[in-house]
Amino acid sequence: MAQKNIIEIRNIFKSYAGQQILDNINLRVKDGEFLTLLGPSGCGKTTLLRLLAGLEQPTSGQIIINGKDAKTLSPQERHVNTVFQSYALFPHMNVFDNVAFGLRCDGAAMEEINQRVTEMLRMVRLSGYEKRKPHELSGGQQQRVAIARAVVKEPIVLLLDEPLSSLDYRLRKNMQIELKQLQRKLGIAFVFVTHDQEEALSMSDSIVVLQQGRVVQQGTPRDIYETPKNISVATFIGESNIFNLFIDEANDKNIKVTVQGIQYELENDGQFKRGDKIHLLIRPEDTRVYHRSEIDDISMMFPAVVNEVIYKGTTVDLIIKLPDGTLLSVTEFFDEDNGEDVTYVIGESVWVNWPIGWEVVLPYEA
């Protein structure tokens, strides 16, 4: 099914007090998708969300909501609602009145309000809490009220501004699942702002990486993680071992680079030429280490010494030191089947390689 674009952002610029916050943003949000705006603080993601909410106006450019120019839409016609970072629940109103606020603004009939609010509170599992004031609720409950208050308006897009950032780790994990389930149940598009890459990867259908007011990359979590477009996306999302190298030889299909004295032939998917400087990225979980005794053929391996062993339960994380002093991160999964021995001791000499083709080659950026 070809999903239609529920929001289109065209050539949006926003500057504030002479400072460029958003620099030519083009973006589409598809109906029913969970889209995440991901970036470090100050990258403009919250500003972009506020433009969508209509709380601020772009300096130039166009926002199309459901086929109509947002400028021509009144707040009621926008059908976009927001869950604020600090929830912004009305402290003087109880849960029911908070959720009913938007419906009352629309002049809905009392009976309809009662019915919709009750239904909504059941959906976020807050039935029976109608009479409580926000300060009498836990963080997670407040969060759910904030969601209910926005969702009861039946928006076509729900905007969420770092809604999980003030919750503790365990609650945040639970709310991630709950939000995802809610989004599936409602079938509406969510535009979610976060600076937490793990959150973005685990919840989104599509991730938009913003840096310094620009869209650096948009794609599925897997795209973004496995084929980052540049070195800053790669380092922002997940950990990487990075080698800065020059290309020894290149043709249309392949390049040859030397890592730790060993020449590797890799795919040339970036039209690299001989002499180009590149970043060679290998994710920690793709970096393989072997005990000396395990290995006979060391022709495509380089040596290292175990510097640190961190037991994490499901994985063992290692920090290994190459002869030139470079430190690499390695994540080894416990795998009962292949019988690999993942017990390492600090100071142990090991051999290192990675599955050829799982690396990422990016043009060098200073």
Binding site: L55, F84, C105, R132, R149
Partner: protein, 283 residues
Amino acid sequence: MKHKFQYFSVGLITAWLCLFGLLSFLVMLTISFLQHDLDRIAVWHFTLQNYIDLFDPIFFKIFLKSFYIAFLVTAGCLLLGYPFAYIVSRLPEKVQNLALLLLLLPFWTSSVVRTYAMMSLLKTKGLLNAALLSMGLIHEPLQILFTNTAVSIGLIYNLLPFMILPIYVNLERFDVSLIEAAKDLGAKYTTIFRKVIIPLSMPGILGGCTLVFLPAMTLFFISDLLGGAKALLLGNLIEDQFLMANNWPRGAATSVLLTVLMAIGLLLYWSKTNKRVDYEAVT
């Protein structure tokens, strides 16, 4: 060390209030139950006569009128003060401080002096009348001085900061995201103001009203100067009884009655705002 300082400062304030607040109130309370005597302050003889005297229709009238003026003054201060406080609280911080400084600057001059200045503004041949006459807005000078209007203007002028400051303090801390949330939910500005801003600034409004209402009934020098002999506030009544009639017990009884009325008002407010929510009932 820190604890010692805390005890010291709290202790000092407590002692100060006990000595000059509680003790003097207790003295007044005692005197109010004693018999009036022309030669001495009072005679050591218990009586309720001073309170019974207050039910005289003349006193009752003064009470009522004083309440009425205080009410007008409070309403006037609120109408002038709230928008001012709201606008100032939305200004950039530096401008805010300047605005507050300008607000408080006149109060570095004695309020008696400023009230005399107001007399010269309001009098028949004063600046206000001269200006209005020269603009052709009126043909005869207005008689403002020595009326209730003059007293109200004087009181509003003097008490305005006491209304503005508590409201400003409240609005300055106002969480802007609440306004944005209301906007996001489709509220019009009037709705936001009525349903979100006003209710949440209620503590500031009530604080300001309390700070204005009581002085508005008792700032006797303002009605002395601007109201002439016509406008008598409760403060003037108390003043007269102590200083002119030399009747301390009745003056004391009047003060005590005023204090009790104010206390009842505050208690009503408290019982309304401090309603405990039943946590158990929900679960």
